[in-house]
């Protein structure tokens, strides 16, 4: 049995005191110690023993006696032991203060403690243990910075002072600087390998601290042993808020919300320490949050935040509050909370993404982009971040969006995760927009997977769907009936009914419709309009209200010049939605093409109304309509013409005010300027449009080239004009647009390049043999050629007339409703629909021609008459053409137009242009009219 021996003064004897038999009343011992003037270390030993046995009162008594003024005086030069006693008392009162929950008494304890420490300091200011004690006291008071200073003083003196190291580690730990803390712990262990905390298995704080350290290792084993320690701490002392919090945390993760609430409520009542309370509130909030009690959760998060004030100290409730606010739709508050999280943890990927999302919804695209980009940088393995970034970029930077999507796609694939259809669809759409049709097709196919459509796309399997045909006389195996042709014959959707009757299921899940539609669009672009139309039919079979598919079919029919079918399909679409602007615009365009001017205008107006006057396409169409009306002005009413031009200009300007980058409106405005002879302005406009167009991969606008060439022509730059026409012809029309050849011929003619002129016209005839204007013009060119060879320089009336017939042709403008009508759908986002304006040909040369006519009118000779008669002969075969030619409903068709009618009209117009005083010309024209 351990004993201590108190030496008896002035003798060799000692008093033996068995440590486990210390008297209950300490007065005896004190008396002995005093009487024998026992060394102070014995006082300490006995006091410590009392403490160990839990006899705190005795402990205090001995130490207080040991630090009484008499003792002090007596042992004045025994410095260390005196300090030790004072420090022990300081530590005792610190502890009392620490465990005391009543604020007043707590402070009193702390005051007493600091009193003792100060006393100790007076004996020796440099004693490290005093500083450590002070540090502990400050720590207990929550005065962390000063505590750190206290420990630092000790460590400056002695870098290996274990308690100081631990104290500092503790501070770092509470500040969340775990790695620093761990570092110090390690240093402490190196210096003093017997872990001091282990000395007292009942020490709650030590258990909690060790538990936290274990938990922070983030490994399964660590967490388990950490939780075990927490549990033990709880069993020893059930009111330690810290361990309660951690236990609550644990039960939160195991989903035992009831326990969480109980534990945290206990914790809340057991402590007034801000950070701990904050933690408890957070746990409660989290528990409600996960149960869907957002309002309560929000309140507790807020309470948690109020306890800490600074997000640096405890950031999680800000995140939670942000989440709850987002859930409740309060995006602005949510964003400010998430921003606070980011201040503390600028690289937190989840927060970056969430915040990015919020800013997208708040329309703050730049900030959103910045955040999401950072998210992808912080975590380049997170497909979701790339997905979000791609979705954000899709409307601004398609290239970057595609990159982001593809990265997401690859990451998902590598992770063997399911790739969402939307992602594949979006990648496909982006490829599509970049003109990479094959890649786009692959993506859409991947998005679609297997289904009934596979049979229609792959021509090899397509033949397995043989439709029982009406006739079997010929070698059927040789010609498997195409599905498209049976579609064409039945026009309805009987094919799919037949397939169903044959037991083949015709299914099309809703989420795949967009991809299927897009696939069809790609196939169209790849010129497989057969397969495309089957897919559109399939969509309509399952979803008859899908007007876009209907309009695409109408567009295909139109491209094949099947106007009737196209009209019918547009009608179908309008039956579904009578205000469908795309359908109306296509219809108006078709009407214009068939020369139903008034109806076309009505329809454009309707389309404009249907879009609340917002649709720039409809406005541009109306502008074009007015422009054409001015050009087709049969009565040559200059007032009317001017009004139409004015109106057209007004409409184009209106669009440009709304959308300064609307190419078609700019083109239109250029047309009006050119018509009025302001070539410089027109040139400027056209050039700008052309530059804009050539920078874009998916806008095709041959008209702009033609208009530029027209301006060059009007300004006498024939070589440049020809080059431009030719480029346009080759680039956009595979050299098949005879009208352009006519312009080229016209330019060659002006430049007196007769051979080239003739060649161009012959090519035009070869392309459009039924357009007699070309033949007439060849005649004129050849005559001119021969007369110029004979050095006869006079110009004949004929020539003038040809010019006029040319200008009549030039006046013909086309309106393309391009295929874009269906594209808006593709992305499921409202993109600006591409508006296709039209080509404007203004006849700059008209004025010259009229002047020429006045000068040369007398040279009407026999040859020229003959030429005209020759044409007339042919004309007589189709007398009705002339009737048609007279009204406003004039031939506008550019290629197959009734040639006589157009040349006749040319003359008529020329006639009204030239002065009335020219009877010859009038006569000639009337003759034609007959």
């Amino acid at each position: 049995m351990a004993c201590i021996y108190i030496p008896v003064q002035n003798s060799e004897e000692v008093v033996q005191v068995a440590l486990d038999q210390l008297p209950l009343d300490a007065t005896d011992i004190i008396n002995i110690l005093k009487a024998e003037q026992a060394p102070l270390d014995l006082w300490l030993t006995i006091a410590r023993e009392y403490f160990k046995q839990g006899k705190l009162e005795q402990f205090r008594q001995i130490l207080e006696e040991g630090s009484s003024p008499e003792v002090d005086e007596y042992f004045a030069d025994v410095r260390y032991e005196r300090i030790a006693i004072l420090n022990a008392l300081g530590a005792y009162y610190s502890y009392l203060g620490k465990i005391e929950t009543k604020q007043g008494e707590k402070e009193e304890h702390f005051l007493t403690a600091s009193h003792y420490y100060n006393k100790a300091s007076k004996i020796d200011t440099r004693e490290p243990s005093t500083w450590i004690g002070k540090g502990q006291l400050l720590l207990a008071k929550g005065d962390i910075d000063q505590a750190l200073n206290a420990f630092k003083i000790v460590l400056d003196e002695d870098g290996d002072n274990v308690p100081a190291l631990l104290g500092q580690a503790c501070i770092y730990f509470s500040r969340g600087q775990y790695s620093d803390s761990l570092e110090l712990h390690k240093r402490a262990l190196q210096v003093y390998p017997q872990c001091p905390a282990a000395l007292d298995p009942e020490n709650v704080e030590a258990l909690v601290a060790l538990g936290i350290s274990d938990l922070q290792t983030n490994e399964a084993n660590g967490i388990r042993s950490g939780m075990e320690k927490m549990q033990r701490a709880f069993e020893i002392y059930p009111y330690c808020a810290m361990s309660l919090n951690y236990l609550a945390n644990h039960f939160f993760f195991t989903g035992q919300h009831f326990l969480v609430e109980q534990l945290t409520e206990t914790a809340l009542s057991a402590t007034s320490h801000g950070p701990t309370k904050s933690h408890s509130f957070y746990n409660l909030a989290r528990s409600y949050h996960s149960k869907g009690g957002y309002e309560k959760a929000g309140r507790y998060y807020l309470a948690s935040i109020q306890e800490v004030n600074k997000p640096q100290e405890f950031v999680l409730p800000y995140y939670g509050l942000g989440q709850v606010q987002m859930k409740m739709g309060d995006l602005r508050s949510a964003s400010s909370n998430f921003e606070k999280v980011l201040e503390v943890q600028p690289e937190n990927c989840e927060t970056l993404k969430v915040l990015g999302h919020i800013y997208v919804q708040l329309e703050q695209k730049e900030r959103a982009k910045q955040l999401l980009k950072k998210a992808t940088k912080v975590n380049p393995q997170d497909p979701k971040a790339f997905l979000d970034l791609g979705e954000l970029l899709i409307s601004t930077d398609e290239c970057a969006a595609l990159d982001a999507f593809e990265t997401a796609h690859n990451l998902l694939k590598m992770g063997n995760e399911e790739v969402p259809i939307e992602l594949l669809n979006n990648i496909g759409v982006l490829h599509f927009e970049r003109g990479e049709f094959e890649l786009a097709r692959e993506m859409f196919m991947e998005a679609l997977g297997d289904g009934v459509w596979s049979n229609f796309i792959d021509s090899k399997t397509q033949s397995s769907f043989k439709i029982v045909a009406q006739s079997n006389l010929f070698n059927r195996a040789q010609y498997p009936t195409g599905i498209s042709s049976s579609l064409r014959q039945h026009t309805e959707l009987r094919l799919f009914h037949q397939l169903e009757e044959q037991g083949i299921s015709v299914e099309l899940p809703w989420d795949k419709v967009s991809s299927l539609f897009n696939l069809a669009r790609v196939l169209e672009k790849m010129h497989d309009s057969e397969a495309a139309s089957i897919l559109y039919h399939l969509i309509l079979f399952k979803y008859p209200d899908y007007t876009d598919a209907c309009l695409r079919l109408a567009s295909i029919a139109r491209a094949q010049n099947n106007i009737q079918l196209s009209l019918k399909l547009i009608g179908d679409a309008l039956k579904v939605d009578e205000k469908c602007p795309d359908a109306l615009l296509m219809l108006g365009d078709l009407k214009l093409k068939s020369d139903y001017w008034v109806r076309a205008k009505d329809i454009f107006l309707r389309a404009k109304e249907a879009t609340d006057w917002q649709d720039s396409y409809a406005t541009v169409c109306l502008g074009n309509w007015n422009f054409e009306a001015a050009n087709h002005n049969e009565e040559k009413d200059s007032k009317l013409e001017a009004t139409h031009y004015q109106k057209a200009k007004g409409l184009y300007t209106k669009v440009l005010l709304q959308q300064p980058d609307n190419l078609y409106a700019a083109n239109g405005a250029g047309m009006v300027f050119a018509e009025k002879g302001h070539f410089d302005v027109a040139m400027e406009l056209f050039t700008q449009v052309q530059e804009a167009v050539s920078g874009s991969s998916n806008v095709q606008m041959p008209d702009i080239w033609i208009n530029l060439a027209h301006v060059h022509f009007a300004q006498g730059n024939f070589a440049l004009a020809v080059k431009m026409y030719q480029n346009c012809l080759q680039k956009f029309y595979y050299n098949t647009e005879s009208e352009l050849l006519l312009y080229i011929a016209r330019t060659h003619y002006e430049a007196e390049q007769w051979k080239d002129c003739k060649k161009s016209l012959l090519r035009a005839i070869h392309l459009s043999p039924s357009n007699y204007t070309f033949r007439f013009n060849v005649g004129v060119a050849m005559q001119k050629f021969s007369s110029s060879t004979l050095q006869k320089t006079k110009r004949s009336v004929d020539e003038e007339q040809w010019k006029r017939s040319m200008s009549a042709t030039k006046r013909k403008n086309k309106l393309h409703t391009e295929d874009e009508s269906g594209q808006g759908e593709k992305k499921r986002r409202k993109g600006d629909k591409r508006k296709k304006g039209k080509k404007i040909c203004y006849e700059s040369e008209e004025a010259e021609a009229a002047v020429g006519a006045q000068e040369e009118m007398k040279h009407v000779d026999a040859t020229c008459k003959y030429q005209m008669n020759g044409i007339e002969d042919q004309v007589k075969n189709n007398p009705q053409d002339f009737l048609a030619a007279t009204g406003l409903e004039d031939s506008d068709a550019e290629d197959n137009a009734a040639a006589p009618s157009s040349s006749a009209k040319g003359r008529r117009l020329a006639l009204s242009e030239s002065d009335e005083e020219e009877p010859m010309n009038v006569g000639g024209a009337v003759e034609d009219e007959k």
């Binding site: 090899k460 009406q470 010609y479 042709s485 010129h527 094949q560 010049n561 009705q880 053409d881």
Partner: protein, 323 residues
């Protein structure tokens, strides 16, 4: 099946080559190729080499069509000036000059029996038949108006007849118009039978199948970018082939009837497997519109192979081996 490019003559003509036709072999000569061009000449080629044998002049304005008599001794060419010149292949002596009103001649085709020359009558909206013994006009097969069309609809000039084809037995003629209609005639009775519907844009080339059982199958090429396969008896569209990105200017069927070749303004020549109903090969040798493709007779060395010729606006002529 496969097309192997053999030879290309870069500047076969001085300008765009618009038409080509094979002249069957005779006792004295192997199969030869005739080409016609915007340069107003008709040229005769030996596909070996290929070697230019002759340059025939005599046309004003571009040559739009050439056709060879089945005997291989006579051929005809037509130009924009509406004259048809019939000439002796080997000597280039003019045999006859057939005149028509302006713009009333386009494509030419001899019947398989060699007794009649059919000429697409352009603006006359008819097919003109000339007998090859006297070179007299024997019949005019007029394309009737489509029913239900009001006279006010200006379809007149759209009836311009561009293309013409004989059925293998010589009893039927098909002709194609600018408006896309195809008309079928019974030649022996000189009677219009019916229209084939499906195209709405110019039909520039037509050909009947050469496979024995499929004599009623007609292939058509149109500006709408499609090739249609029709059953001319059943008046039905059997299938429609898409893939060209421009006008389909010419179509011809292989001697074995298993494949067709097409030429397009998209500058490609395509070979289509009829069983698969898909283009199995796309040849991109030409740099401009391919105006004509023509399968030649089977090779003597390899009966299962034959030559294919294509001509283009790029002035060139290409020869391929089909097998």
């Amino acid at each position: 099946m496969k097309l192997a490019p053999l030879n290309t003559v870069g500047n076969a003509h001085d300008d765009s080559v618009w038409t080509a036709a094979w002249v069957p072999a005779t006792d004295e000569s192997p199969p030869l190729l005739l080409t016609g061009s915007l340069d107003e000449t008709v040229r005769l080629w030996n596909p070996d080499g290929p070697q230019k044998l002759q340059t025939n002049t005599g046309h004003c304005l571009g040559v739009v069509s050439v056709a060879a008599h089945p005997s291989g001794r006579i051929a005809a060419s037509a130009s924009i000036d509406s004259f048809i010149r019939v000439f002796d292949v080997s000597t280039n002596n003019t045999i006859a000059t057939l005149e028509a009103p302006p713009s009333e001649v386009w494509q030419l085709q001899f019947n398989p029996q060699g007794t009649t020359l059919a000429a697409a009558g352009g603006g006359s909206a008819s097919v003109k038949l000339w007998d090859t013994a006297q070179w007299q006009l024997t019949a005019t097969l007029s394309v009737p108006r489509l029913e239900g069309l009001k006279p006010s609809e200006k379809t007149g000039s759209k009836k311009f007849v561009l293309s013409v084809a004989w059925s293998p037995d010589g009893r039927q003629i098909a002709c194609g118009s600018m408006d896309g209609t195809i008309s079928i005639f019974d030649v022996t009775r000189a009677k219009f039978l019916h229209h084939l519907e499906g195209h709405n844009m110019p039909v520039r080339s037509l050909v009947y199948s050469s496979a024995p059982l499929d004599a009623r199958v007609l292939f058509s090429a149109s500006d709408d970018g499609h090739i249609h396969v029709y059953d001319t008896e059943g008046k039905t569209l059997i299938s429609s082939l898409s893939g060209h990105s421009g006008w389909v200017l010419s179509v011809d069927v292989s001697p074995d009837g298993m494949a067709i070749a097409t030429g397009s303004s998209d500058r490609t020549v395509r070979l289509w497997d009829l069983k698969m109903r898909a283009a199995t090969q796309i040849l991109t040798g030409h740099t401009d519109q391919v105006w004509s493709v023509a399968f030649g007779p089977s090779l003597k060395t390899d009966v299962r192979s034959c030559l294919l010729a294509s001509v283009s606006d790029d002035k060139s002529l290409s020869i391929y081996k089909y097998s």
